[in-house]
Symmetry: none
Subunit: 463 residues, 2 copies
């Protein structure tokens, strides 16, 4: 097997040029949620196509009803090595409030922060800086060897920050072209700046909005109070009854499909040393609020939740109004793990809410999306390869973590292309993605590219 060191040395020697290329991409204002920036989104896609072509990929822009996809293909050194699909997104979040930025969000720079070099600007961490780590690894292979260690397909999306409306239809329409042995997704983070991480679990989501209707108009609480149904009382009882005194969700069958995490995973999470103080302290809290007798990481990574995201009813302006409202509403989200079924949980929730309605009141439901949780198998050989490769590159060994939020692409790859994903990324907690003054550590960018080189070689060598 060919030595990897010359490839890694290429990455080191070419770092300044790599940063310059990334900066060119960062200067393109590819904000996908705002139609005013549609041409910029296309420009970013075009930039990537040209860059991938320059290192030998067969790359093209693929139109969608929204912003275009970039699809690129490159063969591997041997047909024996697995075929991987790499996913990233070139669109970025809006930049408002602009006045909170220290510099123009689209004028990237290298700065020093807490004694470490960082790249600043919108998209540095989410996700242009991340996706370019992979492109730079490929470039180094090509420069050193004239080939890639395995067959690579690349998919760059331009609508990740605006709900990915074109993604599923595109995957379905291009199944054969996009199907690979597994996917590499680079849109996640490290455990800390010395410890790389692979995300193996992602929570799913069920969103529901309920409106409780009582009287057919707002009422005077002096006149009707004590006799007429108050929808805020009914709603409060519904919401208060969602959790029992141990913090468990009370819905029938809610925990069906939820298993305890394996003891070795529990052990490795315990070793990460996360505490309620470390996690909640920075936001002004100290006590974990969910299920009792669970570690903090378990609560946010491996346990399902019910959270009320919004509530409104009656008068909430200045002063006081002695009104009994005609209606009251709440938005509720459930985070799902493992094999929980989103539609069963939605049905259990609706049954529960209906059971709390007085005979003369009614409730209206409105659905806000549903996706199951994702649990990647711990016994995939690629997981072991990635863990070794990352541990070789970084000061500390790689850890397997989970994520509280959802990355819908992972579910889509599983469902539509029958393909598992390996989630590796180099973002850090304090990268301020979606906020002013986004940054990406120069080390994330540099060692990220080196990590991908190691992973690609590892995948080829494992055969």
């Amino acid at each position: 097997m060919p030595a990897l060191d010359p490839v890694l040395s290429r990455i080191d020697a070419g770092l300044d040029a790599s940063v310059e290329r990334l900066f060119s991409l960062l200067r393109i204002k590819s904000i996908s949620t705002d139609k005013a920036y549609s041409a910029e989104c296309r420009k970013a896609a075009q930039f990537l196509v040209e860059d991938l072509k320059s290192i030998g990929f067969e790359a093209s822009i693929r139109d969608t009803p929204g912003h275009p996809m970039v699809v690129a293909h490159h063969s591997g050194e041997t047909d024996a090595a697995p075929h991987v699909l790499f996913y990233g997104h070139y669109d970025v979040q809006p930049v408002d409030p602009l006045e909170l930025w220290d510099a123009d969000p689209f004028d990237p720079a290298i700065k020093e922060l807490n004694g470490r070099k960082v790249l600043t600007g919108r998209g540095t961490s989410d996700d242009k800086g991340q996706l370019m780590t992979f492109v730079e690894a490929c470039r180094a292979f090509k420069a050193e060897r004239g080939s890639l260690p395995c067959k690579v397909t690349i998919l760059f999306e331009g609508e990740e920050e605006s709900g990915s409306p074109s993604l599923k239809p595109f995957l379905e329409a291009n199944k054969d072209e996009l199907k690979a042995d597994f996917a590499l997704v680079c849109d996640t983070g490290m455990w800390d700046h010395e410890t790389p991480a692979i995300s193996t679990g992602l929570r799913g989501l069920v969103g529901e909005e309920i409106t409780v209707h009582a009287a057919d108009r707002d009422l005077h609480s002096g006149h009707f109070g004590g006799a007429a149904a108050n929808p805020i009382h009914i709603l409060s009882k519904v919401l208060a009854g969602l959790h029992d005194e141990t913090g468990r969700v009370t819905l029938d069958g809610f925990y069906d499909g939820v298993e305890e995490i394996p003891s070795n995973i529990r052990q490795s999470w315990n070793e990460l040393g996360m505490t309620a103080e470390k996690f909640l302290g920075p936001i002004g809290l100290s006590e974990p609020a969910g299920e009792k007798n669970r570690s903090l990481l378990e609560l946010i990574w491996a346990r399902p939740t019910a959270e009320v995201n919004g509530i409104t009813g009656g008068y909430s302006g200045q002063g006081f109004k002695t009104v009994i409202a005609a209606q009251a509403s709440a938005k509720i989200s459930f985070r799902l793990v493992q094999k929980q079924d989103p539609e069963k949980i939605r049905a259990a929730f609706r049954d529960y809410v209906r059971s709390k309605m007085p005979a003369d009141c009614r409730v209206e439901f409105h659905e806000h999306g549903g996706s199951p949780g994702i649990q990647l198998s711990y016994d995939s050989p690629f997981l072991g390869v990635a863990k070794q490769a990352l541990s070789d590159e970084w000061p500390k060994p790689a850890v397997m973590i989970a994520m509280g939020g959802s990355i819908p692409i992972v579910g889509d790859f599983q469902k539509l292309l029958g393909m598992e994903s390996l989630l590796v990324g180099f973002g850090l907690e304090d990268d301020r993605i979606h906020s002013p003054n986004e940054k990406y550590e120069l080390a994330s960018f540099h060692k990220g590219a080196r990590s991908w080189a190691r992973i690609l070689q590892g995948i080829a060598d494992a055969q």
Copy 2:
């Protein structure tokens, strides 16, 4: 004693002009809870001063730290007749939600509803239409006789809908000027559109606003859900715990000072034939929602309540936002009866709320007024005079009822000026006060003025 008929005929003949004057007052947007309408409140006070001056009152605007009072005096035909203080309020409730109004709330009109003529617009029934019935009765006496049958002082307030913060200090500072033999308060209703009523019991009110603070910022529910405290959950539990399963309020000592009503009163109320169906049917409900095993009139007239008047927290706009809010708020009012102590109840509520706060969250309280319930004596001679006058005017004899709402002024008159009140008003159940499409029956306005003429004459004649 001079004949009353010519005075009543004056009222009949001047009805169109009376309605026009009321409309001019209704067009002034005197919403007292919203600072944006302060100038409109003053304009309404000024309008009333000018109108009272035009019929010979010595009238003036009296500044307060909030909206001004109107005070006016007029001597009686003889010094032998009692001196009465008439009270009403010129401020009105906010008009939101504006989209539910059939017409501009401040563009009053005469319409036909259920075969009867009604005046429509904010304040028609609460309380501008009501207070003008008294002014129109005085105008008719002056036009016909050049005098009033007894000495009259008028007090119009501009903060009744916002907790009357300036009222007590004003009464204390102007005791000598405002003290009369008794007060006439026109802010109540009839039993039905044929049956006039005198209110002898009034529920008191304690208003509280609470804000639960958790994290020091809004959080992403994917990242923090299951670990961070959710203030909407805490607030829901607080509110859901205010009532037990029998509908009783759970606060410590809440029912101290509450006695069962005398059996003769219970009997007379039963004879009014009110049912849940009759009371709740018109607003689209059917089941009494308060304490179990109480008659409907008992629930709204003689039992204390706790009602949530408004709630807000998190995201309640269009669509969905997976946020855990930093804070959530609710406005709560307690209706009090008999000898319940408002400050003891406020303290019990605050203790209860504090007991529900997790150690790392905090609650902020904001007081919105407090007044005890009122029970007026059944043996006042003025009560007999008013009962006779009202029974003469309307198709059916007057009945003595209680009221679910609060009129704090009655307690203040009792406590600060040592003066009992006679509560007579012409509002109807379906007047939609505090709601969109408020109305006042033209008959209430017309026969209300005639009723006051009869009462004023009756008071003078009784001496």
